[in-house]
């Protein structure tokens, strides 16, 4: 099956040389390796590659407080000792060190996600990929968990200019707290995060009980998981919940954060997902045929990150990749097997059937309440008659989800659901 989707992929050669400092698990060099592997697999021939613009401070201040952006712009490793108080206020230091070219790095990855959203808005592509983005922990006024600027929030704000409702999905092993927090009060963004929860795992938020507040109540979904979840249960849970969410919420666009630290063998993660399992989520989301923005995120075992995101680029391009990694400069990182697949994880799966079923029930219950809640802007579906200015040939993605496909999804979901119930009881 050949893809008719038009894909825009964002990359800037300068991110590869960014260095967070000795011993810091976040290594932007992984982006360089990913891009290299994407090209080694010839995937560039099937898509358009863009260099993002460097987001201006004023663009970053669309979400972040101006003082914080200003400070990020000003601070350098050489001057940081003069600003110890501000560093503490903005939570810079240990986890989020100040390094050379910090602000430029932020501008590039945020610019990539913003550009990606704008291309989607203008219907210049169906899927936009920015592996450098996805820094979901950054808060409005402070850095957090290796994240400085929250490109996802900026991208979603951009998408909200053209879409009534945007769905955010997060499969990083950590909770997508920055995005959830940013949109905690609004029903125009639904955030769904699958993450490890408990045992004081960072960032500590993301309980199933956190569901949003005010107008945003029920529009934040958290799927807290325990150590060692495997492909089968993860995909089942993901598919059930996401299908239901899309059915109920009818988003105009989807943002998918593909943090690769949920893979088995990650340095900071604790799940047992294989690359196939991780990519299955991407496949599921792609099937909705909605404008899709895909970003990276966490991922602290470099070669697995490169494998995973290359594979997922392939998935988005409907291209099957051979398991043997082609010879390339970084082949030694993939030795000795030189395979795209990764060894299975051996962490004990602490997610019992009944635990997963309780979580699922709770989430689905909350989802059902949305239907009954009055005042949801469901009537304001993005106008189908909206004609893009730039490319009239492009099919309106909102229309692409025909009734037929929708029916099929519902049916599938029901089938699955029955089966699941049987097993659980």
């Amino acid at each position: 099956m050949r893809s008719k989707d038009k894909i825009s992929y964002f990359y800037d050669g300068d991110v590869g040389s960014v260095y967070f400092g000795p011993n810091h698990p976040m290594k932007p060099h992984r982006l360089c390796m990913t891009h290299h592997l994407v090209l080694a697999y010839d995937l560039h021939k099937k898509m358009e590659i863009y260099r993002p613009h460097k987001a201006y401070p004023v663009e970053l201040a669309q979400f972040h407080s101006a003082d914080y952006v200003e400070f990020l712009n000003r601070i350098t490793p050489d001057t940081q000792h003069l600003f110890s108080k501000e560093l503490a206020i903005y939570n810079l230091g240990e986890d989020c060190p100040v390094f050379e070219n910090l602000f430029e790095f932020c501008q590039i990855y945020a610019g990539g996600t913003i550009d990606a959203a704008r291309r989607l808005n203008n219907k210049l592509c169906d899927i936009a990929i920015n592996w450098a983005g996805g820094l979901h922990h950054a808060k409005k006024c402070e850095a957090s968990g290796f994240c400085y600027i929250n490109d996802l929030v900026l991208g979603i704000l951009e998408l909200l200019k053209y879409h009534t409702r945007v769905l955010y999905i997060d499969i990083d092993v950590h909770h997508g707290d920055g995005v959830e927090e940013a949109f905690y009060f609004t029903d125009r963004v639904m955030t769904v995060s699958f993450h490890k929860f408990g045992d004081m795992f960072f960032p500590g938020t993301g309980d199933v009980k956190d569901i949003g507040a005010r107008e945003g109540k029920l529009y934040a979904i958290n799927v807290p998981l325990k150590n060692g979840i495997d492909d089968t249960s993860f995909i089942r849970l993901f598919k059930t919940i996401i299908s239901k969410v899309v059915e109920m919420y009818q988003p105009g666009a989807i943002v998918l954060q593909c943090g690769a630290d949920s893979l088995a063998g990650d340095r900071l993660g604790c799940f047992n997902l294989s690359i196939d399992g991780h990519a299955a989520c991407v496949r599921i989301v792609k099937k909705f045929n909605l404008p899709l923005l895909v970003t990276g995120g966490g991922g602290y075992t470099k070669e697995n990150v490169a494998r995973c995101w290359t594979f997922e680029t392939g998935v988005l391009l409907d291209t099957e990749l051979p398991n043997e990694i082609p010879d390339n400069e970084y082949i030694k990182y993939f030795e000795p097997e030189c395979l795209l697949s990764i060894p299975n994880g051996h962490i004990e799966n602490l997610n019992s059937r009944s635990y997963l079923s309780t979580i699922k029930m709770q989430v689905l219950e909350n989802l059902r309440s949305i239907q009954h809640a009055p005042g949801v802007q469901m009537q304001e579906v993005p106008p189908d008659f909206y004609i893009p200015d730039i490319d009239e040939k492009e099919q309106n993605p909102d229309e692409r989800m025909h009734k037929h496909t929708k029916d099929k999804q519902i049916q599938r979901d029901d089938e699955y659901y029955d089966g699941d119930n049987d097993n659980d009881s």
Binding site: Y11, G13, D14, G16, S17, G21, P22, N23, H29, C32, H44, M47, Y50, R51, H53, N91, D95, D115, R118, N122, L124, H137, K139, C141, C147, V153, L157, K161, Y162, T164, D172, A182, Y184, F185, T186, R188, M200, F202, P203, G204, T205, R267, T301, K302, P322, P326, D327, N328, E329, Y330, K332, Y333, P336, T358, M361, Q362, E365, P383, I390, S425
Partner: protein, 603 residues
């Protein structure tokens, strides 16, 4: 995404704050925590499920029950589970109503008496039915119509689970302070009269003094049990919890003998002892310092760490909270006996202690009542989720410094932002696009399809890497440099002299790259190289070579992301020698040289 240290820190602070004000009885919290653990979460989960299911049924019948349940007009939400458990433990709705114990219930919930009526109303409307249903099930399990009534929506398993959890919970010592309850029953009438002035002061005091005595006399079993549990924990935790219970005790009973031991503030710093009061003061100091580092003008430090519950965010509530605090510090500044500089900037906890300190020295009857109010306000603000696991749970921070501004949907905004859509780099535009690349795509690169003498040998692989690199370069043209492919892979080493490479290796042996001093040191070693050059060399040459060594020597335990691992074993075989394989002495980098030549030609 964070090293555990910071997360732990945070949780610890949250935990501290939660424990300090979160519950009247510290030991109980600890106990809840240890005993219920997972059950706690399940209980709340199930309770929410049952409640929402029930309310839905009720709504269906035409009755309206909004969630969350709000108290009066302040928009304060009520923790229904806690209310339910408290009432249940006392003996149910009817008993509480008949004996007039609602004031006690309200107090147990850490609320003011002004909401007494609302609490009772909410219980009657939201929970009474549930109570009746649960009781009928627990008492009479034989009956098959257990699933009837409003709760038919529960699956059998859920119901069993739910009942089990409740039976479990109720079987043990629960949320209610039993001794206080007995005392309360004795003094009930007195409180009833006094309730207009907030908390009846004299009553509170006598009550807690009594409670203390009762505890001592009876050698309360529950308490002993708790002590045992705590002793298995870390020492630090134990003293902290004891210190906290002391603070609670003193807060409740200002003329406790131990309060008299407190020294003047001027002597605090040099005090060597380890009494509870000095521990409390040190803890306060530590909290204050922690907060000063983080404080943002609009927030009080405790709130920040606490990450207040959304429903607490209502302006009314905050104002209330702040005025109380202000009043407290105001009083302090008026009385000069307290010359401590922290007072004015004090958190609630701060002012609390200061108040205490002051009251013990020159307390007048009037001030006492405001202390009681302060206490109650502290309790409410801290009672976010007062039990077990929830203390560890971080809440989502809300407020203008946290949420994004999302405009109302008014239709697509077509502003002029289309100018920033990124710059297309691929496919190449115009003449730069090399026709050769189209006719001769990179194609299959499987190593087994090559015609090398020894397939999969080091030479073979190196040849193919170089081959692919050249093809890619032809194909990409100038993009090759834009994407920094010229700085990828071991080719980077060709810009380094053998001498320099040796020096780098030597430096790594002297000083591990995991140390902060490594890179500054490296810059000193190689003044002619930029830090980008050094890092590029580290990732593209050094790590790859180390990896290549690991691949052969320790293929089972490879971690190329580990800066810390020892490099010693690599010793002499490291560097360009590492690429040699036995029997291939003549290996030269001919392919690489070609590559470099090509690059030079094109530039």
């Amino acid at each position: 995404m964070v090293t555990n240290g910071a997360a732990l820190d945070c949780v610890e602070i949250v935990n501290k704050c939660g424990t300090m004000g979160g519950h009247l009885d510290v030991d109980n919290v600890g106990k809840d925590l240890e005993q219920f653990g997972d059950n706690k979460d399940r209980l709340r989960c199930l309770f929410d499920l049952v409640l929402s299911g029930y309310l839905k049924e009720v709504t269906w019948k035409g009755l309206f029950r909004p969630m969350p349940a709000m108290l009066g007009n302040d928009g304060q939400s009520l923790d229904l589970l806690k209310l339910f458990l408290v009432v249940r433990e006392i003996g149910g709705y009817e008993l509480v109503s008949n004996e007039g114990l609602w004031a006690f219930v309200v107090k147990e919930l850490g609320l003011g008496f002004q909401v007494l009526a609302s609490v009772k109303l909410i219980y009657a409307k939201y929970l009474y039915e549930l109570e009746k249903w649960l009781r009928s099930n627990l008492e009479d399990r034989k009956e098959d119509n257990a699933c009837g009534g409003n709760f038919g929506f529960l699956t059998l398993e859920q119901e069993k689970d739910f009942r089990g959890l409740f039976a479990n919970r109720i079987g043990r010592q629960g949320v209610v302070n039993k001794v206080a309850l007995i005392e309360y029953r004795k003094h009930k009438k007195f409180i009833g009269k006094d309730s207009k002035n907030g908390v009846g002061v004299s009553d509170t005091n006598s009550r807690f003094r009594l409670q203390d005595r009762v505890g001592k006399v009876y050698g309360d079993d529950a308490e002993n049990e708790c002590r045992k549990e705590f002793s298995t924990r870390k020492r630090k935790r134990k003293s902290l919890s004891e210190m906290l219970s002391w603070v609670m005790l003193v807060a409740k009973c200002h003329d406790d003998p131990s309060v008299r031991e407190i020294l003047e503030p001027s002597k605090w710093i040099n005090h060597k002892g380890d009494e509870f009061w000095i521990q409390a003061i040190r803890a306060r100091e530590a909290l204050r310092q922690k907060r000063d580092g983080h404080s943002v003008i609009e927030q009080s430090p405790l709130q920040k760490n606490q990450e207040m519950h959304p429903s607490m965010y209502d302006d009314d509530f905050l104002n209330h909270h702040f005025t109380e605090k202000l009043r407290c510090s105001e009083r302090l500044s008026r009385s000069n006996s307290c010359s401590c500089s922290h007072c004015s900037s004090g958190s609630t906890f701060d002012s609390q202690l200061m108040c205490l300190h002051r009251t013990h020295s020159e307390c007048g009857p009037k001030e006492l009542s405001s202390i009681a109010i302060d206490l109650s306000s502290l309790d409410t603000s801290m009672t976010v989720e007062p039990y077990g696991d929830d203390i560890f749970r971080r809440q989502v921070a809300v407020g203008p410094r946290f949420q994004a501004e999302v405009p109302e949907w008014t239709g697509p905004v077509s502003d002029s932002d289309s100018k920033w859509l990124g710059t297309r780099q691929w496919p190449l535009s115009g003449g730069e696009y090399d026709s050769l690349a189209i006719t001769d795509p990179i194609g299959s690169r499987q190593p087994n399809s090559c015609s090398c003498q020894i397939p999969n040998s080091v030479e073979c692989i190196r040849f193919h890497i170089a081959e692919n690199r050249m093809k890619l370069k032809l194909e990409l043209g100038s993009l090759f440099y834009h994407w920094r492919f010229d700085g990828m892979g071991e080719e980077v080493s060709l810009r380094w002299t053998a001498e320099e490479e040796k020096k780098f290796k030597h430096m790594v042996q002297l000083e591990s790259p995991s140390l902060n001093a490594f890179w500054p040191r490296a810059s000193e070693f190689f003044p002619e190289k930029t830090w980008q050059d050094l890092i590029s060399y580290y990732f593209n040459v050094f790590l790859i070579r180390r990896r290549s060594y690991q691949n052969r020597v320790t293929p089972k335990s490879i971690d190329s992301d580990d800066d810390e691992s020892e490099f010693g074993c690599i010793s002499d075989s490291f560097g360009s020698y590492a690429l040699k394989v036995p029997g291939s002495n003549t290996l030269t980098c001919s392919q690489n040289n070609q590559c470099i030549d090509l690059e030079l030609d094109e530039h």
